[in-house]
């Protein structure tokens, strides 16, 4: 594990702001049993960031970062979009490269890290929006599944291009009026979770981030399966309250509403993945 | 053109039909010339080659470093691998003799003269020599396969131009066909299956060498009749590395 990169030299410690010292002293490192219950007590791996007030993406980020079983050796690959605004403030090695190439970057990183560190576990997680994952980056996303890359892909589905001002995306629902769809979207929401199953993912989950506990369980399962078996995919509903005209405190209610319909919890687990998840449960890690 | 000065370079164009082995012939010709101490470069015609479609290969041999690249637009020697190419040129884009230099040589894989009156009208004032040589027939007779046509053609080239001896031709052929086998064949664990294949390959190489050598001799005779002297001065020692 690479905790050493957070350890501050004693000779200079007094000059370093407390938020940085806290990362060394109060964050949960080296403990695979860490989880969302640590949130009130431990130093979080994300600092203050600039998402809209009340944006559910910020919740999703906090839950995911709290659930990583191996943060000291986890790399997160991002793409262009609202999520990119959070990445500078995440206390891990992360990448923003181009819009849509996140699964290609992740493939190169994962394979090279496996080559460079054959005796270490380095988890590689992709975290990108719906435009990046399903529209512009679909080729990279699906091919990384076909190739059975051992990475976890998480899609923040807000059903719109939010960062560019509210345009229709492949994951917008049919009929929804957005920019570039002035008469309403003419075709159905892309069933990305199904494409992920058909393309070779070993663990697929679809859910909202209304339940932190459920997010933790899904993320841990996805990462453990990716580590040992092959690609995994997590599809999270993180509505853009701005573009669908909700108030800052409406997000949770919106997600709970969708929990009962198009984001009803759905999970696919391959045979190989079942074995891993069972074992990790027995080890008390899930 | 400075025909008074000694030739420093031979540029060869080899129009053929895809599958006739003109690329292989070019490779062997360059390797043979290299073995004899000349500078040599070979390359194919760059395109989406298909079997039985017109194709070309090129060889450049000289006594000085060769910088020139690509298609040979102004050849000293044209080797016509297939009679069809005379009528079609390179992918129908030009007459087959286009760009031939004064005092050049054309070797045609044919028993009889296939050139039209107009062709001769163009070539005669340029003092181009034409050597009709039935390479395919020769290959069938000696190697028992028309696949050795390219060997007969390259043998004819070296016989007619007298720049390298048959030992270099033999080296060129061996280098082309043996390279991979030598690389992996050196290990003691060569199993019997590979060994059988290897024997077959050796047989093939032998047939190829015989075809090339026999053509060399025929062409050498022809060159003597024509009063042809070696086309290049002996290579400078510096070329031999």
């Amino acid at each position: 594990m690479s905790l050493k990169i957070f350890k501050i030299n004693e000779a200079l410690k007094e000059f370093v702001p407390s938020e940085i010292v806290d990362l060394e002293e109060k964050a949960t490192w080296g403990n695979p049993k860490r989880g969302i219950w640590d949130l009130p007590y431990a130093k979080e791996l994300v600092e203050e960031h600039s998402l809209c007030a009340g944006c559910p993406e910020s919740l999703a980020f906090r839950y995911i970062l709290a659930s990583l079983p191996n943060p000291e050796d986890t790399i997160i690959i991002n793409s262009t979009g609202c999520t990119s605004l959070v990445f500078p403030h995440i206390a891990l090695h992360t990448v923003h490269s181009l819009f849509g190439n996140q699964n290609a970057i992740a493939s190169g990183i994962k394979r090279t890290l496996e080559w460079r560190f054959p005796d270490k576990v380095k988890d590689v997680v992709v975290l990108a929006g719906d435009g990046a994952t399903v529209d512009i980056g679909l080729e990279c996303t699906l091919h990384s599944f076909f190739r059975q890359e051992r990475i976890t892909t998480i899609c923040f589905d807000n059903e719109v291009y939010a960062n560019t001002g509210g345009q229709e995306s492949g994951l917008t629902v049919k009929g929804q009026i957005f920019k570039m769809a002035p008469k309403g979207k003419q075709w159905d929401k892309v069933p990305m979770w199904q494409l992920a199953i058909d393309s070779g993912c070993h663990y697929v989950a679809r859910l909202t981030v209304s339940s932190p506990k459920r997010v933790e369980k899904v993320i841990k399962q996805a990462i453990y399966v990716a580590r040992e078996v092959g690609p995994t995919y997590v599809h999270l509903y993180t509505p853009c309250i701005l573009e669908i005209g909700l108030n800052s405190d409406d997000a949770l209610e919106e997600m709970r509403g969708r929990d009962k319909e198009r984001f009803k919890f759905f999970e696919y687990i391959s045979e190989k993945a079942k074995e891993v998840i069972e074992r990790k449960k027995q080890e008390g890690l899930i | 053109m400075s025909q008074h000065r000694k030739r420093r370079r031979i540029n060869i164009r080899m129009p053929a039909i895809g599958g006739q082995g003109a690329v292989t012939a070019a490779h062997i010709m360059a390797t043979a010339a290299d073995h004899a101490g000349y500078y040599a470069v070979s390359n194919p015609f760059f395109g989406a080659e298909k079997r039985m479609a017109p194709a070309e290969s090129y060889v450049r041999i000289g006594i000085e470093p060769i910088y020139d690249r690509g298609e040979v637009v102004y050849p000293d020697v044209i080797m016509v691998f297939h009679p069809q190419v005379i009528t079609m040129g390179k992918s129908y884009t030009m007459p087959f003799y286009s760009g031939i230099k004064k005092g050049g040589l054309i070797i045609v894989n044919s028993e009889e003269d296939l050139l039209s009156e107009e062709d001769h009208k163009y070539l005669d004032p340029l003092e181009v020599k034409i050597f009709n040589f039935p390479a395919t027939k020769f290959a069938l007779e000696i190697a028992g396969t028309e696949l050795a046509t390219n060997m007969a053609m390259l043998g004819a080239f070296f016989g007619a131009t007298q720049i390298v001896g048959t030992e270099s031709v033999e080296e060129g052929i061996k280098a082309r066909f043996l390279k991979r086998f030598v690389a992996s064949g050196g290990t003691a664990s060569l199993d019997s299956a590979i060994e059988r294949k290897f024997k077959k390959k050796l047989e093939l190489i032998e047939k190829n060498i015989n075809t090339a050598k026999a053509s060399y001799e025929v062409a050498q005779e022809w060159a003597k009749d024509q009063g042809i002297k070696p086309w290049l001065p002996a290579p400078k020692e510096t070329a031999k590395v």
Binding site: S50, V95, I105, R111, R116, E139 | N43
Partner: protein, 401 residues
């Protein structure tokens, strides 16, 4: 640091030697091979960690051969990507993760991948792309034509242009050494004219294959690698750098300038490892000066010899080995006392002519003639170059039958 003299081996079991030994001192043997095969020989001796490939003529063969090296254990990571765009991103990932990586592409593939190249440069990845230039689709051709280099000039990558298979071999090895210098550390595009080099068979001198370059050390990189092994632990490669993201506008400008400055810093290393940014050929007193790179320079050399031997005209060639960094001073020096500058090129836009005119603007009155220009697979016979010179000089043209 460590100064022990013990023998080191790379992961392929090759003995690690200094770049100077590998490039200049190791005994060499002659082989007869194509430019594509030479790529394999160079990569084999370069302690390469990763390569990703995609088929496109004329680079496919070189890409297959790197795959063979992976199968033989000389390259750590290798696979076929789904498009050039993805391949260049996958390769970026390999480099960010601290690996030495190389790939090859051509023509339309270069343009498909285009968005990646400024990203490579901005992310300071010392990747190497062997570019086997062919036409771009205007309409389709697979033939040699180096128009695509024009698109790459301002990506922030170094661009070198090899003339022969031999030079390609040496440039690939020297390329990693120069590109990985901490004060340079930008990508290198090693250009050859497709087919003219990739498919041409010629004599090449190679050092033994049981020695190799020292492995890449990502921990002296100007930007930390993405491996959670080097501080800072909180590190995004690379953030939005704009005022709305709480940085000064000047940050992005400074970042871009820094990438260009990094290319400038490669000059002393290039002088050392390539023996200069240019090569001079022909009569040093030559009044006719060809400025050219790659195969156009090779053809100009042939034409120079014809002019000198057959026409009694003093001529010379200034061959550019590098286009980025651009040898501006060398060009300024070379045009002194010259009557005409000719710039032969294998493309219709004349990107080299544009570059040369730019650096000579206001500095010389020498006429600059941007011809001959051939494209779309056409060869540039030296006879045609000679004809062009004679025509400009008002002399009789005898060369072309």
């Amino acid at each position: 640091m460590q100064k022990t003299q013990q023998i080191k081996y790379n992961r392929a079991g090759q003995k690690v030697v200094s770049p100077e030994y590998l490039l200049f001192e190791a005994p060499r043997q002659k082989q007869f091979m194509t430019g594509s095969e030479v790529v394999k020989e160079a990569v084999k001796r370069a302690s390469v960690d990763a390569s990703v490939s995609y088929p496109i003529t004329p680079q496919s063969e070189a890409a297959h051969l790197i795959g063979e090296l992976w199968a033989e254990g000389y390259v750590g990571v290798y696979f076929r990507g789904e498009s050039e765009f993805s391949v260049m991103s996958q390769l970026a990932g390999c480099s960010m993760a601290g690996g030495r990586a190389i790939t090859t592409t051509s023509g339309p593939g270069t343009l498909r991948a285009m968005e990646n190249f400024p990203m490579w440069a901005g992310s300071r990845l010392p990747l190497q792309l062997v570019l086997m230039a062919r036409g771009v689709n205007s309409p389709l051709t697979i033939q040699p034509d180096n128009l695509e280099v024009s698109f790459l000039l301002d990506t922030g990558c170094m661009i070198w242009h090899a003339e022969t298979a031999q030079e390609l071999f040496d440039m690939i090895l020297a390329g990693f050494v120069v590109a990985e210098q901490p004060d340079v550390h930008v990508p290198l595009i090693t250009v050859i004219d497709g087919f003219f080099i990739s498919h041409t068979r010629e004599a090449v001198m190679l050092p033994p294959d049981d020695i190799a370059l020292p492995p890449y050390n990502p921990y002296i990189s100007p930007i930390p690698p993405i491996d959670m092994e080097m501080p800072p632990g909180r590190f995004l490669r690379d953030p939005f750098v704009m005022k709305s993201n709480y940085t000064s506008y000047a940050t992005h400008a400074s970042w871009q300038f820094e990438v260009r400055a990094a290319i400038e810093r490669s000059r002393p290393y290039i002088r050392k490892y390539l023996k200069g940014l240019v090569e001079e050929f022909g009569d040093p007193e030559g009044e006719i000066l060809f400025i050219a790179s790659g195969t156009a320079a090779a053809q100009a050399k042939e034409a120079t010899q014809m002019l000198i031997h057959d026409e009694g005209i003093k001529a010379r060639v200034l061959r550019l080995k590098t286009v980025r960094p651009f040898p501006a001073k060398e060009i300024e020096e070379a045009v002194k006392g010259v009557k005409y500058v000719f710039i032969p090129e294998f493309n219709v836009v004349g990107w080299l002519e544009r570059e040369v005119r730019n650096v000579l603007y206001g500095k010389t009155n020498v006429p600059i003639i941007g011809s001959p220009k051939v494209a779309g697979g056409m060869t540039m016979p030296p006879e045609i170059i000679v004809e062009e010179v004679l025509r400009i000089l008002g002399k009789e043209v005898k060369h072309v039958p």
